[in-house]
């Protein structure tokens, strides 16, 4: 009797198991993934695929590499951007790290300090096939931590200001000059802010929104000092930069106030804002979709010059890789070879990290607006975040509270920034103590 029941229960469990895992096995088992002898499989984590074109280009690049290197096959572990960092760190913790990984810029100091990605400084310097001088300086900055190189840069993207020529012409305002300043920006934005029907509501803004970091950097200000050990958001240059953004929004109302930013749609695309911060990632869709004449201009000059926040894609090699040489070959292909740089440049979402290839490949792309050469000219002066530090997320979260209150016009700018400086310094002090404890020093 009992044996009979036991059998029934056993069979039920077997059937349940097959029903649960059978379909998964059928879906995920791929006979093509059998690795032939003498062939190395490399895994790379990416967040490519935010667009279908992006995903296809990545596949094209990988195929091109595999065609040149038949002894290597690539497995792309795709993760959406929003969960990428968690997934990557979980892979490291689970002792199943990828061989190579794309890195979000603020993750690099954390992963480098925890020793899970390779320090490539010496390897790269001694590689006769690789000339680091071919890269834009900022491209190497985004791959560095404490003056050591932990990856190679694939591409770069910084902000420019796009402007609607039709709206400029309609208002009789001259187009921005390449060497314009933030004062010029204010003047032009004010001239282009219009209340056509005189109902007290702005119908057209001078600018859609402002990248505060560009204003700060060009004025020689930043949240943290060079080694990210102290907050510096109470310096006169910092206060002045923040106050400038606040005035543009509240005093001149030439940019939307926070509640107006919630409005449906992008005012620049709807021709209700004359200028708009944008980047290379916007160009392809704007060229296709905008039904007005437009061009781009560099972000204005501040007291320290024309600096802007730069994003880019560092690719690193995991310390857990068992195939360092193969991984290094792939890294060089992705970040240095003309073939890969050309394929991704033609997608038009970022500029190659190599200066020579940016000029040769990216500049002539037919999708680009007329003044793209000025944008590329400026790239030698681009700066990355001067200091991210290990605790960037926490610092940024603390600063953002003050920023919100300032931009809601609720507090005095100077007092609030002094308060935030004090809070960030307290936070950094605690974090530094924890970090010392972690390292047992």
């Amino acid at each position: 009797m009992f044996t009979k029941h036991l059998k029934t229960v056993g069979w039920c469990l077997v059937i349940l198991f097959i029903l649960l895992y059978g379909p998964l096995w059928l879906i995920y088992s791929n006979p093509d993934r059998t690795i032939p002898p003498g062939v190395t499989e490399l895994t790379i984590t990416t967040w490519a695929g935010s667009s279908a074109e992006g995903a296809n280009v990545e596949e094209e690049i990988f195929k091109a590499f595999m065609a040149e290197n038949p002894d290597i096959i690539i497995r792309n572990v795709y993760t959406p951007w929003i969960t990428y960092k968690s997934k990557l760190i979980t892979m490291f913790v689970g002792k199943t790290p990828p061989d190579l990984c794309w890195l979000q810029m603020e993750s690099l100091p954390f992963l480098a300090s925890r020793g899970v990605i390779h320090d490539l400084t010496d390897k790269v310097k001694n590689d006769p096939e690789l000339n680091l001088k071919n890269y834009y300086p900022v491209a190497l900055d985004i791959c560095s931590w404490q003056n050591r190189l932990y990856g190679l840069p694939r591409d770069l993207a910084g902000w420019f200001i796009a402007y609607n020529k039709d709206l400029f012409d309609k208002a009789g305002v001259a187009y921005p000059k390449p060497d314009w300043t933030w004062s010029d920006f204010t003047r032009i934005a004010k001239q282009l802010t219009k209340d056509y029907d005189k109902d007290g509501h702005t119908d057209q803004f001078g600018c859609w929104w402002i990248i505060r970091e560009d204003v700060m950097l060009s004025n020689g200000a930043w949240l943290l000092n060079a080694d990210a050990s102290q907050a510096t958001c109470d310096t006169p240059a910092f206060i002045e930069s923040v106050q400038w953004v606040r005035d543009l929004t509240w005093k001149h109302h030439a940019a939307p106030q926070p509640h107006e930013m919630h409005s449906i749609g992008n005012l620049f695309l709807n021709q209700k804002a004359a200028m708009h911060y944008g980047g290379p990632w916007n160009i392809a869709s704007w060229t296709k979709d905008l039904n007005f004449r437009w061009d781009i201009v560099n972000t204005p000059r501040g007291k320290k010059g024309n600096y802007k926040v730069t994003g880019g894609l560092p690719i690193a090699i995991s310390k857990g890789t068992k195939h360092f040489d193969a991984a290094y070959r792939l890294l060089k292909f992705l970040c240095y070879s003309e073939k890969a740089q050309r394929l991704q440049a033609e997608l038009g979402i970022a500029v190659p990290a190599r200066r020579d290839l940016a000029r040769k490949i990216y500049e002539p792309l037919p999708i680009n607006p007329p003044s793209i050469h000025l944008y590329l000219d400026s790239m030698d002066k681009w700066a990355t975040f001067p200091a991210h530090g290990l605790f960037w997320k926490e610092v940024d979260a603390e600063f953002r509270v003050g920023w919100d209150l300032i931009m809601l016009d609720k507090v005095d700018t100077t007092q609030e920034l002094r308060q935030r400086t004090q809070n960030i310094n307290n936070l950094l002090e605690k974090k530094a103590a924890l970090e010392r404890n972690r390292r047992g020093s």
């Binding site: 009992f2 925890r114 509640h259 409005s263 209150l405 609720k410």
Partner: protein, 299 residues
Amino acid sequence: MDRKKKHLLHFYLLAAPALLGLLLFALGPIVASLAISFTDWDILSKPAFLGLKNYQELLFHDKLFLKSLWNSLYYTIFGVPLGVVGGLLIAMLLNTKVRGIPIYRTLFYLPAVVPAVASAVLWIWVFDPDLGILNESLRFIGFSTTPKWLASTEWAMPALIIMSLWGLGAGMIIYLAGLQGIPEHLYEAAKIDGAGRWHLFWHVTVPHMSPIIFFNLIMGIIWSLQGGFTQAYIMTEGGPANSTLFYTYYIFRKAFEEFQMGYSSALAWVLFVIILVITALVFKYARKKVYYEYLGGGS
């Protein structure tokens, strides 16, 4: 093997998958999180034992702990009563004999099955200060100034409380089942005794519904104190100026953005204790008002 032992073996065999799941995926992590809460652990380094430092830090020095706790309490204090009363009232309306009542019931229940992320995106549009349907309606009925909702430190939380009422259907369906279980003859007897609508509601409906109201109150408190995550994650990122930084979103931020697993585990355990205490207090004081028919009165 005797019959009793066989039954016991069968029981454990059949319960094994659920028990294993509980041990591996619930109890194990719960115990682990308690141990982790006494450490400083960023996942990639070895955990460093801190003793009670995480708890001391959050209880005595962390302003965001108090801020996020207050935000979650605020959400609970206003959201739960509105949800309990609103759900009951709608259930009563939907318990009437009107033509097409199944359609109304479906319509009211529908938002409860809409995924939270989809609702959040929808409500971003509703709360748009300039073009959203809510402010358009307020302007239509004569309000000259309208709230800036999610862009305002004062109105962002009320906005999310209003949004929480969108999910009344879940409680409503339980109330509806309860209302249909009240014997009709009680109403008839009360009417013969001259009871009006209010008396029928207060002396017949409410006592019979009190166990269900109590259940929804307890569950509402627990869910609300743990709630707000999706709204904060999708709609506000905890802002502006941390005005919608819910406790659970703060735990998430500490764990998965800043990778302070020890600290976030300590936060989670403090929340557990807070919920436990509040639930116990509500049990102690509100349970006396609950009418259990099988006990013949308040228990």
